[in-house]
């Protein structure tokens, strides 16, 4: 067995182990972890915005429509020195919402541009509530999401609660790929929550106890992934991050490849920097997260990168050899393409006698099961087949490319930008 085959089968084994581990946790504990909604907690929703004139209105209106007592809800929009009409639109929408009556308290403030972290911290300083929810200005929620999430603050140990994030109306190839990726994340996030191993609280929408910021400080202003940093900080201090799979919020995924790359460069470089900052999390002290989830994430990432690059090079070489062969026959196939019983049997034997194909089929099956879980949990009915095909065809290449670029950025000390 060559080193390539060894790595492939090692990765398959690790994958099988992780799937079993997470699935056993879900099977045993999922139903026990379901909590009912609650509306007695006072909540401030902070929406930092920078040049979001196209989406801020929808975001604000979705929050105003939340099924949550108006006297327990406060909306704070922080315009981070936008150069477009974000601030004026936010003020207009706030006025309209106030006029409706029985509306939550709504504040719109503006500041000089200082980054998302600084905008969030300003919002937190203006809030009086015990729960603070951070929300992106291009995100919108289902009306019942907030009260469902509040039900998961069942213990003082629970310092943060995350929802399920879905991609709104994916249209481009890249949005469709992310659509499936987010479905997979829905399952994984819940399985991580069961073992208290969530290590990313999505910036799109996440709830925190305000007292955490009082004691441990606000969002890290200089950090390009302040959502990852705060999640790791919560875990580092031995608190719990919960997940409410049935609380759904929608975000707009990057539409073009360039936008996608910009986002992922920021995410992945931020992930690496923050994991290095909190490297003490890789220990027995942090249970399954420290001993299984984080090490497995890094190990499988490195192996997947190596194998994808090697496979790509090998495929290019095989395609080149194939073209040379075809050229030698004048691009004639003779009866080569004739489909008959013997050819079909040969194909079946070839496929099923090769373990890697069986493992591939198995992991595709697991992926489909994750999608079924996520769609059922999110009550999503739109079609997903074409997105799944695009995901299977392109995700590993896209993922590898983004990670290699991000690691290069980390290696040369170059900072990834927001836009």
């Amino acid at each position: 067995m060559d080193i390539y085959s060894f790595l492939v089968y090692a990765l398959c084994f690790i994958g099988l182990f992780l799937v079993s581990f997470y699935s056993l946790g879900m099977l045993k504990h999922y139903k026990k972890t379901i909590r009912g909604p609650r509306t007695d907690l006072k909540v401030s929703i902070i929406i930092p915005a920078y040049n979001e004139e196209k989406s801020i209105e929808r975001t604000m209106r979705s929050v105003a429509a939340l099924e949550y007592p108006a006297n327990n809800l406060e909306i704070i929009v922080v315009d981070d020195g936008s150069k477009d009409n974000t601030y004026s639109i936010a003020k207009r929408v706030a006025g309209e919402i106030r006029k409706k009556g029985n509306s939550p308290k709504i504040i719109v403030i503006t500041k000089t541009n200082g980054g998302k972290g600084s905008a969030l911290n300003l919002g937190i300083s203006k809030s009086q509530s015990e729960i603070v929810v951070t929300m992106d200005a291009d995100t919108f929620t289902r009306p019942d999401s907030l009260k469902k999430m509040m039900g998961y603050f069942y213990s003082p140990d629970v310092m943060s609660v995350t929802p399920t994030i879905g991609i709104h109306e994916p249209k481009s190839i890249w949005q469709r790929i992310q659509h499936v990726e987010y479905y997979v994340s829905t399952y994984l996030r819940k399985s991580f929550a069961i073992i208290n191993a969530i290590h990313i609280t999505p910036g799109a929408f996440a709830a925190y106890r305000r007292e955490f910021f009082n004691k441990y400080g606000g969002f890290d202003v200089g950090n390009i992934t302040e959502d990852i940093e705060v999640a790791l900080r919560v875990q580092y201090n031995h608190f719990i991050i919960e997940n409410t799979p049935s609380a759904v919020v929608y975000t707009i995924a990057p539409r073009t490849f360039r936008q996608f790359l910009t986002q992922r460069k920021r995410w992945y470089t931020g992930y690496v920097h923050n994991l290095w900052k909190y490297k003490k999390l890789f220990s027995k002290e942090y249970g399954a997260m420290g001993m299984i989830v984080l090490p497995a994430a890094l190990t499988t990432l490195v192996m997947a990168l190596v194998l994808t690059v090697y496979s790509l090079i090998k495929s290019i070489s095989q395609i080149r050899d194939g073209l040379v062969l075809l050229q030698s026959t004048g691009f004639e196939f003779g009866g080569w393409m004739e489909i008959n019983q013997f050819v079909l049997m040969q194909f079946l034997y070839k496929f099923f006698s090769q373990p890697i194909f069986i493992f591939t089929a198995m992991f595709i099956f697991f992926l489909c099961m994750y999608l079924v879980f996520s769609r059922k949990t999110m009550k999503y009915n739109e079609g997903v087949m074409i997105n799944l095909v695009l995901f299977l065809a392109l995700y590993s290449l896209v993922y590898t490319t983004f990670w290699l670029i991000s690691l290069m950025y980390v290696a040369i000390g170059r900072k990834a930008k927001w836009r």
Partner: protein
Amino acid sequence: MEIRTNNPLPLMRLLISFIVACAVFVGVFSFAYSVSYLNYQQTVYYNHVINSSLNELRILSSNNSCEYEAFVEASSLLDVIAGRISLLEERLGKTDSRVLEQKRYYSEMQLEHLNMVNKYNNRCGTGFKVLLFFYSNSPLYESASDRTGYILEVFKGKYPSKVMIYSFDIDLKYEPIELLKQQHSITTVPVVITGTGEKIRVFNIGDLKGSEPSE
């Protein structure tokens, strides 16, 4: 705020997951091996099918028949066996004793078919274009042998009922092949012997121009 939560490692779940992963992993490899073995069994079965076909050819030959369909059918079956043996080589290994046994039996059937085709050609005037292909799986010659083999496969595909191609592994320790090698003075591979006894090297389909059957 000073509450701290413990995160004990779920050891039992880890153990069960490990056992499940091992079981599935071994199961997949066992299944894949079983499929390879099934392929081997099917190959052995097809040998009997070809033997029946060759029996039919022996009867036709003894009756001096010029009916050619039976030869074409037997040749197709031999091609199927060749494909199966190729797959067995990939899965079980080229030096596996079962694979070598099947290759020897396959070579024996090819030689019998070749003899009957030569007699048919002499008896019936018009006949099949015969090509003998000598190859090797050793690292030095494998790539070139694969290329020539592919070209011959395409060539046969163009003229399935007019061309007969017989492939012989020169590394197979089998006396009839050794005799054939000596008969045609084979010193290097891959090489193709045409119906006229000419030795040619085939690296693209144009090299077989002279071996195309007449319409």
